[in-house]
């Protein structure tokens, strides 16, 4: 990869990540906050736009790659993680940020999430969790609360919502956090930490859908969120982390860094081909005559 060393780098600001078009999200949508914080976090880490790739599924939140100046892939509904795994393994010099919604990541895509977490793929996965399907105009999502009325559940949802943080902590994610798009400063920090983490980082973000979710609004979260860092939480303790993951009440919905584990290698570090040869896309192609002869000899 052609890149400049840190010393020569021009100073990078959030503006460098300004995308080619303005987001077409509804005015007030929580996703604006995530986008803005992400641009700032990238700038704070001194990433150059071409070193970053954002990869998303399908949904309002998954439109994010179109709104930021970086490489991007806007993939299929629910499939951002395997695509991102392919990108990361093919070029582990890239900073890989996956963005999407609760339906995309915890619904149709949850199988890939389970496996990406246990494999510890080195990427930050930001789920803009609005507890609803936004793009398809308001149906129940896997995080919709019981009783919520949506177009697909006009008499109230009865399926127990999924707890993404508990799933991640018990499922092998090595960095697990939750932000709120109404808490920009903390969000910015969480984004930076998640990107810096070597391994799979899940960042769930409360990102209200002002158009279709009339229950979990900014006000709803503002009243309830409590920062973990303000209460002496120890993110290296999985028991505490799970305890907090199961905390959800009118008095407290915790946000912040729930859990981190620095002891496991990231997936690309377990691949001998990558450890020997560096990023795959820069390695040479094909089989030498000598190697080839060895392969044929095995057949005789």
């Amino acid at each position: 990869m052609t890149s400049v060393t840190i010393a020569e780098r021009p100073t990078i600001t959030a503006k460098d990540f300004q995308g080619p078009v303005d987001p077409d999200w509804c005015p007030g949508c929580g996703d604006f906050g995530v986008l803005n914080s992400l641009k700032k976090a990238l700038a704070a880490l001194g990433k150059a736009p071409h070193e970053v790739i954002t990869i998303s599924g399908i949904g309002c939140s998954s439109n994010l790659p179109g709104f930021i100046n970086a490489y991007g892939m806007h993939t299929l509904h629910g499939r951002a993680l395997p695509v991102a795994t392919g990108v990361q393994l093919a070029n582990h010099d890239l900073t890989v940020v996956v963005t999407g919604g609760d339906g995309d990541g915890y619904g149709i895509g949850v199988g890939h999430l389970v496996h990406a977490m246990r494999r510890n793929v080195n990427l930050l996965y930001i789920v803009m969790n609005n507890e609803i399907y936004g793009l398809t105009t308001g149906q129940t999502s896997p995080t919709s609360l019981i009783g919520m009325q949506t177009k697909s559940n006009p008499f109230g949802n009865m399926d127990m919502p999924l707890n993404p943080l508990a799933m991640a902590i018990s499922g092998g994610a090595t960095w697990v956090g939750r932000g709120f798009s109404g808490e920009a400063k903390q969000l910015n920090q969480l984004l930076q930490d998640g990107m810096e983490h070597n391994g799979f980082a899940l960042l769930d973000v409360f990102s209200p859908c002002v158009t279709y979710n009339k229950d979990q609004t900014y006000a709803f979260f503002k009243e309830r969120v409590k920062k973990l860092e303000d209460n002496g939480h120890d993110p290296s303790d999985w028991r505490q982390a799970l305890e907090k993951a199961f905390t959800w009440s009118d008095e407290e919905i915790p946000i912040g860094l729930f859990f981190e584990n620095h002891d496991r290698p990231a997936l690309h570090e377990t691949e001998p081909v990558l450890q020997k040869g560096g990023p795959l896309v820069h390695q040479s192609l094909g089989v030498s005559a000598k190697q080839g002869q060895k392969l044929v000899d095995k057949l005789m």
Partner: protein, 621 residues
Amino acid sequence: MGGVYAYTDSGTARNNLTDGLDAERNYMSQFDLKIAIGGAAGQGIASVGNILARIFARRGLHIVAYNAYQSIIRGGHTFLTIRVSGDPIATHGDTVDILICLNQDTLDRHIVNLRPGSYVIYDGEKLKPLEAPAKVNLCALPISELAKNPTNKMLSNTIAMGAALYLAGFDIDPLADSLTQQFSRKGPQVVEENLGSAQAGFDFAKEHFSPLAHTIPAEQQALPVVTGNQALAMGGAAAGVKFYCAYPMSPATGVLHWMAANGPDLGIVVRQVEDEIGVITMAIGAAHAGARVMCATSGGGFALMTEGIGFAAMTETPVVVIDVQRAGPSTGVPTKTEQGDLWQMLGASQGDFPRIIVAPTDLADCFTTIPETFNIVDHLQCPAMVLTDLLLSEGTGTVHPDVFKWDQKIDRGAMITASNGSNGDGPYLRYKLTDSGISPRAIPGLEGYIHVVASDEHDEDGILISDEFTNPHKRQAMVEKRGRKMEAAAAMIPAPQLEGSPGAEVTLLGWGSTKGVIQEAMAQLNADGVTVNHLQIKWLVPLHSDEIDAILSKSKKVFIVENNYSGQFARYLRSETGFNADGHIRKYDGEPFQPHHVVDGVKELLKGKLTQYVPTHEIMV
């Protein structure tokens, strides 16, 4: 009435069960030997087959082996046929010269099909043949006497091999070498037991029987023995595949196993993924990042990949997917062959978009097709499906060592891999509207080429025209741009060639893996006085419709041979050309065609009473 079954209602005949096995059909080499080994899963049949195959191949003989097996690990019935010839061969043939029976079930099933002069080898102390056809030589071995260690059950296989080698007219040395090599890691005692037992079997046969009458060709350069799946994997390596991912599925798993074993040495990252959706999307991710990427599956796994195929097409990402067909629909018969996935390939994913579909025609072609296909998809930036089947992918045979060309041309097409790449004037447009429809693609990580690729419809610069900026004119232009890419495709591949005499009575038309069986049937028919020529289709999309039409319109009678129920190729060919064949030879019982099935079919169809002939498989497996 019609529908997808349009062709299938026409009168259909069955061959008589024993028809076609009586006649002598040794029209090829002076030396043509068929050994079959039957028994239960777990009795070591594959290993007998491997040892014999290597023995013959090492002295430069050509072999083809086909294993009729089942989806169980122990028990059931497995029947492996290995044919050996002085000339190149392409099928396991029609008949059996030496039948090795490892259990009673095998004796019962197969003895009835034996021809005069053939041998059946079995444990005379444990097994009892039913009444055998006339002049079949019953070679009952006194296994417990011959075995050098009564507790080692596997020695009976060694004894049988010794006997078989004598009957085939070979000497014992190559078997001894093989056994030594095979068992040396188990210690000298096991080697001794095996050598002694092999010799005992050999000697017993020598004492009681005279060998088959044929001339054994002089020793030649050793030939490699390969399966279709191995050849596909090696083709991938030669083509510069850097990322291989898959989810296990019979009969495609052999590609994964080869890659897993050899990938680390060759600098190929190999990943087993959680499912086939993950496979295709991970493959697309790695391909977008710049690697050459391959994956393989079978029909059910491919079904899960279809959404991803459309995604590759829309983002214009080159990726090669191998589909090894097995008997369907659904889970079907996982260990049996069929050519039943063609329409799944043609219809994979919604909407219109360019795709390549290619069906390699033999083992060597499995290797060659992969680099060819990668150069095409890199040029066109679209997905390709390589369509093989169980017969070809798990089939085993010798190929000439020169087939494995390691200095393949690797042409990555219009690809920008460095920041000083050929961007031209103005900002980089990932989906630039060009005359060819091909737009140079830049891999992520380069300064100056930032872009977003999307499964949504987009403009030249990649910005979506599916949301705020919908625009029917831009949409139309993008559909046409992608479509235009196919104009270059046909020129990148050779048109199919008619083999045999142009004026023949019958043209046999096949696709993919049936090449060998049709060729052999053609030779037989020509020998029988029915003049036949042959057209085999490898490249299905793009299809050289005009060239094919030109050939077929000159043919007197065209019979289409395919290993499926509904005539998937016949229907596809008609959709492209309007061409109606005169007759159809089809098989859909899980077993492959043997040459005589085609021969019988041609003769039957020529009588003019039928338009479709469906042989009944004689060998009960």
